[in-house]
Subunit: 114 residues, 2 copies
C-alpha cells in the first residue's frame, strides 16, 4: 500500500473540502488493488490534497473520503489524465455502483486518545 | 441490523449535509453492535434524516456517513438524549479514536447501473 492502513487524515482547521466516494464492486479484480493504491499515491501528490480515509466492509460497501483545500484542487484531480483512465475503467469493470459527493467541511472535532 | 447492509443512501438533490464519522475501535465489545444498530434506528426517525452509509474495513478503520437536511437537524440529533448516552459510552470504552466532520454537500453524481 502506498499509505498506511487504518489511518486518519490529518486535516487542518475547516473550511476545506471532502469528496465522499461510496461504492460497491463487481466480482472483477483485474488490477483493481494496484489501481486503488496508485490513485492514492497520485492524489497525494496533487496540489491541495489534504488526506484520505478509506474502508470497505465485509458486506462489500466501500467508502473513501479524500480531503482537499479547494474545489479547484478537486477539479484538477478529477481531470488528471491517469485518474480519468482509472475512472473509465472503474465505470466499465470494477464498480457495480458508486456515488460521489463533493462537500464543504464546516466543523470538525475528534475524540479521545488523539 | 435495523438497516439493510450494503446500501447506498437515497439522498435528494444537493445542497444537504453530511456527518462523516471516522473511527477505530477498542477491543471492548460490550453492547457495541446493539448500540450501533439502535443509533441507526433512532437517527432514521429524527426529523431531517436523509440516509446513512457505513463501512468498517478489516484493518479496523470505520467510516459512517449520515446525511441530513440541515445543520439544525444535525444539532438536534447530536443532543438527542439516548444518542448522548451512546456518545459518552463510546468515548469511554468503544472508540480508540474518532473524528467527526460536518460538511455541506454541494454536488453529487452516481454511476453506472443505478
Amino acid at each position: 500500500m502506498s499509505t498506511p492502513d487504518n489511518t486518519f487524515a490529518q486535516t487542518p482547521e475547516p473550511p476545506y473540502y471532502a469528496v465522499i466516494f461510496t461504492s460497491t464492486r463487481t466480482p472483477v479484480d483485474e488490477g483493481y488493488g494496484a489501481m486503488a493504491d496508485r490513485m492514492v499515491e497520485l492524489a497525494s501528490r496533487q496540489p491541495g490534497f489534504l488526506g484520505v480515509e478509506s474502508a470497505r466492509g465485509a458486506d462489500g460497501l466501500g467508502i473513501t473520503v479524500s480531503y482537499w483545500a479547494s474545489l479547484e484542487a478537486i477539479s484538477a484531480w478529477k481531470s488528471n489524465s491517469e485518474h480519468r483512465v482509472a475512472q473509465a475503467t472503474g465505470n466499465r469493470k470494477w464498480y457495480e455502483h458508486f456515488e460521489t459527493r463533493v462537500a464543504r467541511v464546516e466543523r470538525a472535532y475528534g475524540g479521545p486518545r488523539t
